[in-house]
């Protein structure tokens, strides 16, 4: 056994269009491993196949050909379905459409109840899951009274209560406002860094993907690029071709390098960008007086 929690081998997924009878190939030979403890971002534009890929990670969908293993268990093995789903927790885009109960803590208890865990243990798990996502104070609240970011944190707690080995999140921030998005990203990073949770984040926001350890770009059902964010994002032209963005800092350095400079292109945030620009500006020892108004 390696340290791969999820191992995807030559995954092909096709479905038949019921109207036209055509066979659509959504995933076209994906090979991907998810390592224990890593934070993996899967990027891609809408319709690239990234959500379909996510649904293969906990046997909501099973491959047309190829194999997906979760902790060594083949996801096509129907007898192991619940074992797989317990290990791979999944959070979706719309926070409203994944809450079952009318009270926060009852919703978090939903999965352990389904698993037949005894009451004292459920209690413990619910309390600790709510604690981790910082929603303990809201445990007796009704979900519809919460903000989008809070609902999504409850959804994460609901999955954590299964004690999964990996958390797969399918565009969890797409419907949230900036503060909600920040809440979720902070929660995810905390889970990954402090609790050692393996995280797979499906997203089309590059500012979320830059925070990951590793990024995979999916396009047209195949893996188009993979590497660390520092390897991926400086490839501005290629990303644009794939319908994706680059951070403004990365783009600025890219434009300057195009003009003949030799800055390290692996710049992802404003802090590093300002730092390397400043170094260069000081090095040139430019007289800065009066330049502001040219």
């Amino acid at each position: 056994m390696t340290d791969n929690i999820i191992s995807i081998q030559d995954l092909i997924f096709e479905y038949k269009d019921e109207d036209t009878g055509e066979i659509n190939r959504v995933l076209n030979g994906i090979n991907l491993d998810v390592h224990k403890g890593e934070f993996l971002a899967v990027l891609g534009h809408n319709g690239s196949g990234k959500s379909t890929l996510a649904k293969h990670m906990n046997a909501i969908l099973t491959p047309t050909s190829g194999k997906v293993f979760v902790h060594g268990i083949n996801t096509s093995d129907a007898a192991q379905l619940f074992e797989i789903r317990r290990r791979v927790g999944m959070v979706f885009q719309n926070p409203d459409n994944q809450m079952v109960a009318t009270i926060v803590e009852e919703d978090v208890a939903f999965a352990p109840e389904n698993l037949g865990i005894d009451r004292d243990e459920i209690r413990k798990r619910v309390d600790s899951a709510l604690e981790i996502v910082g929603m303990t104070a809201f445990k007796r609240h009704a979900p519809h009274m919460l903000s989008g970011g809070q609902k999504q944190r409850v959804a994460i707690a609901g999955v954590l209560a299964m004690k999964p080995e990996v958390l797969v999140m399918d565009e969890p921030t797409a419907m949230l406002d900036p503060s909600g998005r920040a809440e979720i990203m902070n929660t995810v990073k905390k889970l990954n860094r402090e609790e050692g949770m393996t995280v797979v984040l499906i997203t089309h926001y590059m500012d979320e993907a830059v925070q990951a350890d590793r990024t995979v770009v999916v396009d047209n059902g195949s893996i188009a690029m993979q590497g660390t964010p520092k390897e991926i994002f400086p490839q501005v032209d290629k990303l644009k071709e794939l319908g994706l963005d680059t951070p403004q800092s990365t783009y600025l350095i890219y434009m300057l390098n195009k003009h003949g400079f030799d800055f390290d292109p692996a710049v992802l945030d404003d802090e590093n960008c300002a730092r390397i620009l400043l170094e260069r500006l000081k090095q040139h020892n430019t007289d800065l007086e009066g330049v502001a108004h040219d």
């Binding site: 503060s179 040139h284 502001a292």
Partner: protein, 281 residues
């Protein structure tokens, strides 16, 4: 042409959940302007835009569109709605007709236009948002996410409003879909001489398009100025839960390190133009 005079709005007035959504807001927007509206959730921006076409009536104050006071009984709110087109959040959820064309015709037909003219307008609007003719006979539910969104925008545009208000038209779209919609909105603004009010959470989008930016906070107008002026107040924006574009942060860092550059730089292009001479001199 749009004027708010001391407008306030209170939710559930008198109840125990009473909440002030707008507090004494006064502002003026001229014909043909492109206004970006930003503010965190609950800042009052949604309430304000719904007031502009009479969906919400102010508790106090006056909303004046083209000289007509909307609280005046003689002013027909339906006519106001045709003049002030409002595209709500996730507008694709309002699609209901059998075909895209019929759905876009819904507004024009409600105006009492004859079928042929409604269809002409619908086709023009579809073209304007970049929906090809071949999609018009399809069911709106067979379109892709981005296409649905544009069909819904066309449904409002076909009423030929003078003012177009869009509430987060790019929410949930990927970068390509977002760029496509924003480009179309800019085209409409220029070609049809529309007054556009664009509500967005994305500072980058607003910075790219707007002549002036309206910043809302706790139901009041926090700032209403040109983008360079607004983004020059990065610290205040952060205090009220907003951010500035990343490039503004880079330039702010350089400036606070002693580099003499102006504040409120908000596009990568401008930053590049300013830095290039500094680096090559």
């Amino acid at each position: 042409m749009i004027k708010l005079e001391n407008v306030s709005y209170t939710y559930m007035q008198g109840g125990s959940f009473e909440k002030k959504a707008l507090d004494n807001v006064s502002l003026e927007i001229k014909s043909g302007e492109f206004i970006g509206i930003i503010g965190h959730t609950g800042s009052g921006k949604s309430t304000m835009i719904q007031m502009l076409n009479g969906l919400i009536k102010p508790s106090l104050g006056r909303v004046i569109i083209d000289g007509d006071d909307l609280s005046d009984k003689k002013v027909k709110l339906r006519d106001v709605r045709f003049k002030v087109g409002l595209v709500m959040q996730y507008p694709e959820y309002q699609l209901f007709e059998e075909t895209v064309l019929k759905d876009i015709c819904f507004g024009p037909l409600n105006m009492g236009l004859p079928q042929s003219e409604a269809e002409d307008r619908a086709k023009f609007a579809a073209n304007m948002v970049g929906l090809s003719e071949s999609l018009l006979d399809k069911s709106p539910f067979d379109l892709s996410g981005g296409q649905k969104r544009r069909a819904a925008i066309a449904g409002v545009l076909a009423m030929e409003p003078k003012i177009l208000i869009l509430d987060e038209p790019t929410a949930g779209l990927d970068p390509a879909g977002r760029d496509e919609i924003l480009t179309k909105i800019r085209d409409m603004h220029k070609r049809l001489n529309l007054t556009v009010l664009l509500v967005s959470h994305s500072m980058e989008d607003v910075a790219r398009l707007a002549d002036r930016i309206l910043v809302m906070n706790s139901g009041a107008v926090e700032m209403f100025d040109m983008p360079s002026k607004v983004f020059g107040k990065g610290r205040r924006l952060e205090e009220i839960g907003l951010t500035v574009p990343q490039i503004t942060k880079v330039m702010d860092r350089l400036r606070s390190a002693g580099i003499q550059i102006e504040d409120g730089i908000y596009t990568t292009g401008d930053a590049y133009r300013i830095l290039l001479p500094l680096l090559t001199k």
